[in-house]
Symmetry: C2
Subunit: 395 residues, 2 copies
């Protein structure tokens, strides 16, 4: 027998109903929720990281290859950006789509403003960004990535939120970095950094929101903007970073978003080499190279910075290695399953969830002991995104 | 007319009931919730930082002078530590006390384990720490702070959680720092650092969980333990930090927990002087002194580290100053109200909430423009604690 409380007029009435459960949306905290992208099925799983269980499956999200997600300020809703321009607002408590629009023809992720009011998508086609009301998904700003003199629009990459309801991103075709202030989304204020290098293909903001780095596909090196001192413009660092003059075979261009900053150092995937590079963030000079098992894709720091976890491009994409940042050596090598695509730490870093696309599972490890804590079945899982992202800058 | 869905057997039944509301606990996200301590009334307000409103008041929490709080892993429950040894588990969604115990005679705050399973209280009387099951508040470990040869127990101060379900704290009377591993709470493993200095009165862990610093009341200087390299033991830094040989009049010993780490520097309140000290965390040497309006109490970094907010001891406790960490100068001076006791940033730092005990209000500012966004009435408010703390290390 289940029971429900009904508030009638001024008093509470206890209703007992055999086999009945009141309300389809049970109240619960949202701080330990997350989603797992099932890329081939156009579906996400809603998961609970405390009990390591699946709570719901939500279908109908379109093409989820390369999908990513951000969270509403209250942690209840995930905004899922699909490759097909779909933007779906998923209600984690109800386990259903709350709203969904198709906002572009070819899209590559998005971000949410510091105050949680604006969800912004970055688009390849038509090139530019669009800002939507986080509650209603109403279009509030459409900023085409127009460059040059012929009115061409560039693909947009590397979008990240900044303090002050600003956003930063790179224009692949234009070789530019733009910072847009959307304090008033109807009146966007754009700052352009030109000639930052050829074909920026991804970008990231350091955890403190101060530095923006854009990797270059068309040449070696990385473009850097000190967002606290925009008057200095963009400068070039790590001149040797890239595919190099020999044009090494690169199985997969690593995600810059996978760079890790731990303590004073940044850890980044070498391009085309079985190495993780360590860079001093004061001088932006390389200080160490750590040999790893394959060509690194994501290089992610545990929240306390003591460990950096690394996955790899084919043919080494069944392995994950853990670097101890104190010793600079490999602490352990794990085999979570075939085709590891993504990793996500629980908010305080005690566990990590790893998706293995071709073994159709998510594997959960204890990050202190490396003990296997559990596995969840999933249909070709890719990205894993936990709701604690709602409280973080620069995603 | 309100309606409720009841799940009966295999189907859904829509129940219409005039004036009735199903379920007293409406579902909602918990990422934007928090509490404000009303110290004199033994009460907390449950607040919503998105709409800047009060959702509920929860009475019956005992003596809340110097009270603090930590959050359950899911963000639904606040554990409030009262001065009288009371430990209250407050359900933010239901707006009521879920469980409450009185676990000591004189207590001074607590912490929660990295995995969220253990809530730990630090006690003056009887001296020691106690660990409780976070769900049930069942006592799982009782670790007396016994020192010396006579079986005396020390007051415990400066408790903070560490990665690996460990906790660190200082023994005021013993001059020791202890690290306890509670991976198995029935078998605590204690590491003792002895002779760390006279009368440690508070402590803090750096945001990465690596360094523990304990301020000394009985002499000048600060005790430092590198928790990644415990074999090095405790060492002394900042030999001039403290009341000094002249024994300056100190209106209020500043909270160490109010130290801020922003970028490479730590910002800390000078003792007995109208200054904020800037310390390089690589060398632990003082690099700058910033003159401020009064004797600083809390020195808190905005999450992105660009600003440090400072409040003051009597008679300057009606002021708050903001330091721009790029220029090292004062960006603005604000007057939120009489007897400012505490400040809390929203999770991504766009707003700050400030309690003014003697004006009985909480004042909310935009941290970019310093615009006044709102005020909420509160009965002698002191600590403000938001649920995003659930995802952070070292509180």
């Amino acid at each position: 027998m289940s029971r429900a409380w009904l508030l009638c007029g001024a008093g509470w009435l206890l209703v007992a109903a055999s086999g009945c459960v009141a309300t389809p949306v049970p109240p619960r905290g949202t701080g330990d929720l997350g989603i797992v992208i099932e890329r081939a099925a156009g579906r996400v799983q809603v998961v609970d990281t405390t009990h390591r269980t699946r709570l719901a499956s939500v279908d109908g999200l379109g093409d989820l290859s390369h999908a990513s997600a951000v969270y509403s300020r209250d942690g209840r809703y995930a905004y899922v950006f699909g490759r097909d321009g779909g933007l779906s607002k998923v209600d984690l408590l109800a386990g259903r789509i709350d709203r969904r629009i198709v906002q572009a023809g070819n899209s590559i992720g998005g971000a949410i403003s510091q105050d949680g009011r604006l969800v912004v998508a970055q688009n390849y086609e038509p090139g530019g960004i669009k800002a939507f009301d986080a509650d209603t998904l109403e279009l509030l700003a459409d900023i085409p990535s127009t460059y040059g003199t012929e009115g061409k629009r560039s693909k947009v990459v590397g979008l990240a939120d900044l303090p002050g309801n600003r956003f930063v991103y790179a224009l692949f075709d234009a070789g530019e970095i733009w910072v847009v202030d959307l304090t008033d989304p109807r009146m966007p204020a754009i700052t352009r950094f030109k000639d930052i290098g050829r074909q920026p293909y991804d970008g990231l903001v350091t955890p403190d929101g101060r530095h923006y780095l854009a990797g270059l596909f068309g040449e070696d090196g990385v473009a850097l903007v000190d967002l606290w001192r925009p008057e200095l413009g963009a400068r070039r660092i790590l001149a040797g970073y890239g595919r190099g003059e020999e044009k090494l075979p690169v199985f997969k261009m690593p995600h810059l978003r996978g760079w890790a900053v731990a303590g004073r150092n940044a850890y980044l995937p070498a391009v085309g080499r079985n190495e993780v590079l360590v860079v001093d963030t004061a001088t932006w000079q390389e200080v160490q190279r750590i040999p790893v098992r394959g060509q690194p894709v994501f290089v992610m720091a545990r929240p306390d910075g003591r460990q950096v976890w690394v996955n790899f491009a084919f043919p080494d994409n069944g392995w994950v290695q853990v670097i101890d940042t104190l010793s600079g050596s490999i602490a352990t090598t794990l085999a979570p399953g075939k085709a590891v695509l993504h990793m996500e730490f629980t908010p305080r870093g005690e566990n990590i969830w790893i998706s293995s696309r071709d073994d159709h599972r998510v594997t959960i490890y204890d990050t202190a002991s490396f003990a296997l804590l559990g596995q969840l079945p999933a249909d070709s899982p890719s990205g894993i995104f936990f709701s604690a992202r709602a409280a973080r800058i620069g995603f």
